[in-house]
Amino acid sequence: MIELENVAYSYGGGDLLSDISLELQPGSFHFLTGPSGAGKTTFLKLCYGALTPTSGTARLFGTDRREMQRDDIAMARRRIGVVHQDCKFLDHMSVADNIALPLMVSGRDLLSEAANLKELVTWVGLSERARAYPPELSGGERQRAALARAVIMSPDVVLADEPTGNVDWEMSQRLLRLLIELNRMGKTIMIATHDLALIRSAKVHVQARVLRIANRRLQLAGADL
């Protein structure tokens, strides 16, 4: 699915990540932790093809990132849902339209997908806000809209970069429950977070593998997590 083999990434002459090897198995649940600036976002970008490794091999659905054309990357992104801490929307379109955006760009007929869209909007608890515009949403609502947008194409993998960074504990638990639910539907989930409490609360409900980036390398986190 997504496979990193001895991957290193350098920027501006300095190594950000080195000797990273990982294979995301279908249906697995991962947490990626580490201090701010450790390289969690860079790692996720390598996973969804936004960055090309300086050395080593990153394979997205069996294809080496270096051999992928721009259209191949676009196609891969339809199979990888990404949720950012600072999620961006098209402010001139309603929340429902923003959630449906991946369907639009892939040329799907929105009318035939209307039932799925409605169900998804209800699932993330935004039925009442579907006609609102992104600037009118709270931080938690934005994160849930971003999650709905990330999963509307029914991707194989969902990567979330600090999805609970801007929301309170209650909302972060709500988002976590949605991600666990997706994992139970067979989706591969990876959440980058420095919130250890979130990880502990998740491990009660799901068998998650906790990875840590330290000293530019990926390690399996200790049993305390």
């Binding site: 936004a50 721009r70 992104r77 098209l90 947008r149």
Partner: protein, 291 residues
């Protein structure tokens, strides 16, 4: 391009300063382009009038004592009728002579009472007549006749007209190039202002071609609409100028005549072509920097 993709159309913000910028710049430049076209065509007409029409005519002036004026006029006409290259020749009547002098002496000039020379208008045909040969014949047969083939004062006018025609075309090219540059800058500014939209689209799996198509179509149509409005306003402004008259000066002749009204219609499609090319290039350049 014309039918479009309604879903793709929605991803480009429909309003905002980028829409106004494109519309306004296209309209303003189309308005100016219409004037440049009018100027160019007017200078062309002026050059034709000065260069061509004057080259086809000459004047014979007969100065003779009062009793011999009519006889010498008839003799000169006879000479002219037998001269190769002369299409026709006719003596101006007193009304025409009065009209010629009217700008200097005012109306109701008693031409018959004044010792004014008789003028004969000579219209050339084909390659024209041999001016030197005609002068010699007139000198031999009509002693009071002087041939003025306009060469002396026509040459600087023709030169000036040619320069004016060149100036008109240079203006047209410059305004066309400026139109292209302004529309290109507007497209770049609009694309830069929509960088977040492009980033989001790329993030959710849009292909480059989809993004380029959506923006190119929107900006091309905006440029077409803006240039269309500018062209209409330009044509209206041209129509409101004082009517062109043959005897009028240069400014009163600025405008379109007959089929030349078709030329302004070319401006909006050209502006749209420029926007099509500029937006496509700008979008591709911006996408190249996005992973």
């Amino acid at each position: 391009m014309l039918v479009g993709d309604t879903q793709a159309d929605r991803v480009v913000p429909p309003t905002g300063f980028t829409a106004t910028l494109t519309l306004f710049s296209a309209a303003a430049m189309a308005f100016l382009a219409v004037f440049a076209l009018a100027l160019s065509l007017a200078t062309g007409r002026l050059a034709d009038r000065w260069g061509d029409e004057l080259a086809r005519s000459a004047t014979v002036r007969i100065s003779a004592p009062e009793g011999q004026l009519a006889a010498q006029t008839q003799a000169a006409l006879k000479v002219l009728q037998t001269t190769t290259g002369v299409a026709r020749a006719r003596a101006l009547d007193s009304d025409e002579q009065r009209a010629l002098l009217e700008p200097w002496f005012g109306p109701d000039l008693p031409v018959d009472m004044l010792p004014i020379p008789q003028l004969i208008e000579v219209i050339e045909e084909g390659p024209g007549f041999d001016a030197q040969g005609l002068r010699l014949r007139l000198a031999a047969e009509v002693p009071g006749a002087v041939l003025d083939d306009h060469t002396r004062w026509r040459r600087p006018l023709v030169n000036a007209a040619s320069r004016l025609r060149l100036l008109g075309w240079v203006s047209l090219v410059l305004i066309g190039a400026t139109t292209a540059a302004i529309i290109t800058l507007a497209a770049n500014a609009a694309l830069a202002a929509n960088a977040q939209v492009i980033g989001v689209l790329r993030q959710v799996g849009a292909r480059d071609a989809y993004i380029v198509r959506a923006f190119v179509r929107r900006f091309t149509l905006r440029a077409l609409a803006g240039a269309g409005a500018g062209m209409v306003l330009g044509c209206l402004a041209i129509l409101l100028l004082p009517a062109a008259q043959d005897e009028g000066g240069f400014l009163t002749g600025l405008g379109f005549r007959g089929l030349s009204w078709i030329w302004p219609l070319v401006v909006p499609p050209l502006a749209a072509c420029v926007a099509f090319w500029a937006t496509g290039a700008a979008a591709r350049r911006m996408l190249k920097d996005l992973p």
